[in-house]
């Protein structure tokens, strides 16, 4: 009896031990330490770390316009980016589920930007905006291409939105394609025989049936855009004048450039709370949809 108990314990240790150890070391301990440091004036240099209570949070909410600007930028970017990438992703998927001869190749091409990391993509697009757009502008005389894309606040915002949509739409397209392929064919045939127009079929049959995919795609896009860091680090470095600085970037600069690690962790805690709220709302929404589907 005792031996089986020991061997069960050993098995638990071997199967669960390693992943639990790494998980605790890399995620749980830093997370808990972060909660603690958010109430201190830790600067990374002096060994004295003092408890300052809610001071960091008070500073952030009352006296940190850059953080507020970063939050506002991230929110605007998330709303627009999520909306546009989902519309484009769905639209591509809808057209690529038609019996096109080249659809497999097209699917591959539209997906391709996604396998490249945000950092390298940002650098590639920096060249496109600075040099290539000017060249296209000279050829076509379109004002759109002659804008100072990375030079002004308004256009830099849209530049990041464009690259984000270009990068992520293909990923969402893949998910929408698989969902569209699961729409029962007999329902579509019946609707067509009954004389429903293509618009009616799309609105009344296809879109309701792909709602579970919509919620998954919304969730993915929100989490990518809200946590964005690499892309605007390489594309705009948060500029011009900090106008495209995301929350993630603001936390990074506060901690590793300004060396105010206590203040940085307080921002990180706020960031976590906001992400957790958005995500849990989204998951609840997804669950409700799953029952219907």
């Amino acid at each position: 009896m005792n031996r089986t108990k020991a061997s069960r314990l050993l098995q638990q240790l071997i199967f669960v031990g390693p992943s639990t150890l790494f998980f605790a070391l890399i995620m749980i301990i830093p997370f808990l330490l972060g909660l603690y440091y958010s109430f201190t004036n830790w600067n990374g240099v002096s060994s004295q770390v003092q408890w300052v209570g809610l001071d960091n949070f008070i500073t952030i909410f009352t006296n940190d316009t850059k953080f507020r600007d970063a939050f506002w930028f991230t929110t605007r970017f998330t709303v627009l980016g999520v909306l546009l990438t989902n519309v484009l992703g769905f639209f591509l998927a809808y057209l690529l589920t038609k019996p096109l001869k080249t659809r497999n190749v097209l699917r591959t091409l539209f997906f391709m930007p996604n396998v490249i990391g945000g950092l390298l993509l940002g650098f590639i697009w920096q060249f496109i905006f600075v040099k290539s757009f000017a060249a296209i502008g000279d050829l076509t005389n379109l004002a759109f291409f002659n804008l100072p894309w990375l030079g002004t606040k308004g256009t830099a915002f849209w530049a990041i939105v464009i690259v984000f949509v270009w990068q992520t739409a293909g990923y969402l397209m893949v998910i929408y394609i698989s969902s569209l392929n699961n729409v029962p064919k007999d329902i579509l045939e019946a609707a067509e025989i009954d004389g429903a127009s293509r618009g009616q079929i799309l609105r009344s049959i296809i879109i309701p049936l792909v709602m579970p995919a919509v919620t998954v795609c919304l969730f993915l896009a929100i989490s990518w855009s809200f946590k964005m860091f690499d892309l605007n680090l390489s594309l705009t470095k948060g500029g011009p004048f900090g106008s495209t600085e995301s929350v993630a970037m603001n936390i990074y600069y506060e901690a590793f450039t300004n060396n105010r690690l206590g203040l940085g962790t307080a921002k990180a805690v706020i960031f976590f709370v906001v992400v957790a709220i958005i995500t849990s709302l989204q998951v609840r929404f997804t669950k409700r949809k799953e029952v219907e589907a």
């Binding site: 001869k101 591959t108 539209f110 950092l119 040099k131 067509e192 992400v275």
Partner: protein, 278 residues
Amino acid sequence: MDTVRKYRAGTFVTEIIMIIAALIFLIPFYFLFVNSVKTFGDLLRDSAAWPSAMEWGNYARAWTTINFTAAFWNSVIVTVASNLLLALISSMTAYQLVRRDSRFNRLLFALFVAAMVIPFQSIMIPLVKVTAAIGLTNSLPGLIVCYLGFGVPLSVFLFHGFTKSIPLEIEEAATVDGSSPYGVFFRIVFPLMKPMFVTVIILNTLWIWNDYLLPSLILSSEHLRTIPIATFALFGQYTKQWDLALPALVLGILPIILFFLLMQKYIIEGITSGAVKG
């Protein structure tokens, strides 16, 4: 969907429009490749034109400037090692969590699920302190350990869902035939999990290979740089030297593009099943 309608005139028009759209979509790659083989003067004069002469020397200079050989192998080592270890420990953990439904295991699984919500930037600051304290900084094995910690929640979650679909009868039969719990897992369950291994490895590869922030915090030595870090360092050092930067970017994206083209069937399947379960 597709068998409902046949190939009609309208489909042909859609096909043409989509091909044009795809070409527009890929224009950035045209600019990238074409300008990567131009001389600096040629590039400044007109970045849309075809190069007047192929300047392949750009690539040789970029290769040595970013030390591409080292960066490539560092990226490969980190991605492959993290992937194999992650797949192994996560599948074992998920299996145990499903088959030994104890209170501790249920709590642990809830923790893994909850941790998926935590954004990396929320814990990166104390993480730097923790990794320094236990000697994980500035080493590839240290970076790999970090990827294990960050990768475990999603990987366990995906394997957990999959393990529940494996019928218990097969395992019971093997136990009756005298197989140990380890034998049951490695000889019977492990091979059955193959589709989920593909999904988990694909998702983790795209993440780890392209990751910039974590390695930038962990690694500082030049000879340990992965591809994203080497590229970032190049841009910090040689601003606006496009005849050097563009070939470096082409070199940087080439391995993952080739991986994608070779594995695209699995990648697209992996993303679909990862999204449905995640």
